[in-house]
Homo-oligomer: 492 residues x 2
């Protein structure tokens, strides 16, 4: 399309640009997935400032007409169709509007072809035991047949629950199959666990930074996050105590093992202190143990659920990071009435899960294939983490800090304090390295010098190359603007 | 276990019974799934009234300790474990308590061995194309491999969306693949569609009676149902107009085709009038088209989504009743910004669905296997409905009315007015026929002379046998208590 700016018009230029996109969409000439000109190109073509074009695109994004992706560009959004003249715009729930606004505030990161994907927290597809899973699916359907294709039990496949309860036992958690509720990925588990205790207008204590999709879930449920700052040793316990003392705070969501995004694992003393606080406040703790199976060696502190005589911990587990996400199977460990309550919420949400997938996972677990896969995956991840950490040692300028996780995928890097990792990201993407900017993990979406790197999709060479590209960029940026280095050296 | 009643004790007998069950559970001698004595047996043994035992069991059910199932008995509930002395009872969200209370109010219907299952709304497992599905799964995993096992797109598998959009086109609905969001069964679709427009404290207009799990979903979301009475020709439009005029009513949930539980399909004029009301009120309509594919012949009025120039209709579809429920695949048709909003809610709820299942369904649809299955299923259901309706003609006493659906599974029967179908159910189960009592489909859970019969799991002979058993029971009950017949004859 060709844009035309009418300098005589009363309408601001950014509105003229937005209106022309809308008109093209309305006429069906721009359709979902079509790409808009790059901001810099259009600004040059029209002879206007880049901010003007950016503002027009942001307005269109706010209205759901376009979507932007770092390093890839701006596209007409899915679901956008030529508006019939009779079409009415429906009033959406304020919670939905809040989630949409929050989503728009996130930097969108594309898989820029060839860039090192240090942003991804998805296990590498090349490692998935696809054939074993396909055979397991074939086997359970050949044997179970139609009995697996009815409505499954809301609690999930009995054999998989039994096997998972046994596995929890090895982590020191006393649990029966009756105390496990399987769910549609740990993501659903998070939503169900929060809804168990909190309802619209309530608050939930969360670590800051935390897994960003939890923030989407909180917004979608009308729950207010109360932040508990993360230090090097885990959540600040004084802040946690203050948070739990608030009557409207109904639960604490925490990732004590291989924290996302920070990668750290809290020590035993921290865990005991945390549980003592929760017990004193009488508040439940939602322990997201999504990477529990990804430790190397036996040095890790026991999960919170193993240290909890009061039944305060609701623990989430997932196969998404240890096997693959596409089976959409997670589990929730709960005690007493919470089990009944989870089943009621599950029935009210989607009745039950697909039993063939759970039955096939049970085959992989029972046969030992899952454990063999874990052993390989842990070794690979340990080598990759080592390569990444060594490259960071080598490449990152003074004033940069990062965590040294003992397992899992992610490493948290704090750049010299005056750098904004979100602001740096487009340039990093152009140079060939992607990361997850810290901003998306903070409850208030604030500017952050932190960023998350992962070794999920990057082997040792790629991880080293990515760290080198990042290190060079940061060093150049600091050299360009000595002011930044000064600020950094003051801060660190 | 042996119960002991202490007649000298101050504690009421029902509390003594409940306390002894709790003590056995606490000591680990009664465990999840263990059966309590039948109410009549225990009452006889203890020499107390049945109501006393029933009250004790109800109290235990209210506390989540036991679960009762009509025709099967009372069992220690799943998740109930020996209470550690340190165990704290967590405070659950009031919405969860509401869902639990609502669930307890439902009659639970067991598959009494040998009884004719006229209560079931689950397609008969013997009809599932298991082998075709197994082959399709094997094929998509062999071809797609790991690419199907990552996080799928929240919108769902592109080919299945394209095929479903084409199928909607055949029903007269203009829709693109971009306007479809796949979901984890239409049950999830209901929850997502309601959340799109309504938030805790809001209200949603629903037909009365309606699909009972919608009521669970409403309770779980803190949404108030505003009832629109069902007549023989569909929802009462005057009542609907009044409901939609209420500012806090944010949407209308309706099942215009093969209504659940009534089986009726509204005529074109009713549909147009309904949409005109919605347009005047500017309120969205959630059209549950879960049995849209189960009509015989071309006489059905077009779906609401085909008659909707304003984009007010959000339409739900499901494979659960046309193929099998175990794939957990449904779809939501929405327009404009609602598509973006549904994707945001989906991400915040469970990120995405399992792509292998959707891809396998796409194979069944694209190859024609789904349409061939539908053709067979429709013929079978038509024969079964005919057999059931003929048997009702023959067996039911005067004063009984029922619907004559042109497709789908369910028939709604209204017994002579003074009979309570829930009260009658245990005796019907003992005699060998099960049905879904009307009470569970009414928003206020009121006593009802209505009941739902289905031909999902009963072939022609079984349907006829079930109707005969039911007819005999109703005739006997009326003969026993002539008062009831009088009341009935006044009402009908």
């Amino acid at each position: 399309m060709r844009f035309r700016i009418d300098r005589q018009s009363d309408a601001p230029v950014q509105q003229q640009i937005a209106d022309q996109v809308r008109a093209e969409v309305g006429a069906g000439r721009l359709r979902a997935g079509d790409r808009l000109p790059a901001i810099r190109d259009l600004a040059r073509e029209l002879g206007v400032h880049r901010d003007t074009v950016a503002a027009a695109y942001e307005r269109l994004a706010a209205d759901g007409v376009v979507e932007s992706t770092v390093g890839r560009g701006t596209f007409i959004a899915a679901g956008v169709t030529p508006a019939s003249p009779d079409r009415r715009e429906l009033v959406l729930s304020p919670l939905v509007e809040r989630v949409l606004a929050w989503e728009r505030s996130l930097p969108r990161i594309a898989d820029v072809s060839g860039a090192v994907p240090l942003h991804a927290l998805v296990p590498e597809p090349g490692l998935y035991p696809v054939d074993a899973f396909r055979r397991a699916l074939g086997k359970v359907l050949a044997e179970g047949g139609a009995s697996l294709l009815g409505y499954g039990a809301p609690q999930g496949h009995p054999l998989l629950r039994k096997l998972l309860a046994e596995r929890l036992g090895r982590s020191g958690i006393e649990a029966t199959a009756d105390e496990l509720v399987l769910c549609h990925g740990a993501s659903q588990g998070i939503a169900l666990a929060l809804r168990l205790f909190a309802t619209q207008g309530d608050a939930v204590a969360v670590e800051d930074p935390t897994y960003h999709n939890v923030l989407a879930t909180l917004h979608s449920l009308g729950l207010r996050p109360v932040t508990v700052p993360m230090g090097d040793g885990g959540a600040d316990l004084d802040a946690l105590e203050r948070a739990l003392a608030q009557p409207d705070v109904k639960a604490f969501y925490t990732i004590p093992t291989f924290h996302n995004p920070m990668g750290i694992t809290t020590p035993l003393a921290h865990r005991r202190a945390l549980l003592a606080l929760a017990a004193r406040a009488g508040k439940p703790v939602v322990e997201d143990a999504f990477q529990l199976d990804l430790g190397n060696g036996g040095k890790l502190a026991p999960p919170l659920a193993a240290l909890d005589p009061h039944g305060l911990v609701v623990q989430l587990f997932s196969f998404s990071k240890t096997l693959f996400p596409g089976a959409r199977v997670g589990s929730i460990l709960a005690r007493g009435r919470s089990v009944q309550a989870l089943l009621a919420l599950k029935r009210a949400s989607d009745l039950a899960d697909a039993m063939p997938l759970q039955a096939a996972l049970a085959v992989l677990v029972e046969s030992g294939a899952y454990d063999r896969h874990l052993a390989v995956l842990r070794r690979i991840l340990a080598r990759r983490r080592k390569a990444l950490l060594e490259a960071l040692d080598e490449e990152m300028p003074a004033g940069t800090r990062w965590t040294r996780p003992e397992g899992g995928y992610q490493v948290w890097v704090e750049l010299p304090a005056a750098l904004d990792s979100a602001e740096l990201l487009p340039e990093a993407a152009r140079r060939g390295v992607l990361y997850a900017p810290g901003q998306q993990f903070f409850c208030d979406g604030r500017r952050s010098n932190g960023l998350r790197l992962t070794v999920a999709m990057a082997d040792e060479a790629a991880a080293a190359r990515g760290a080198a590209l990042l290190g060079r960029l940061v060093r150049e940026r600091l050299a360009e603007e000595p002011r930044l280095a000064d600020a950094a050296s003051i801060h660190v």
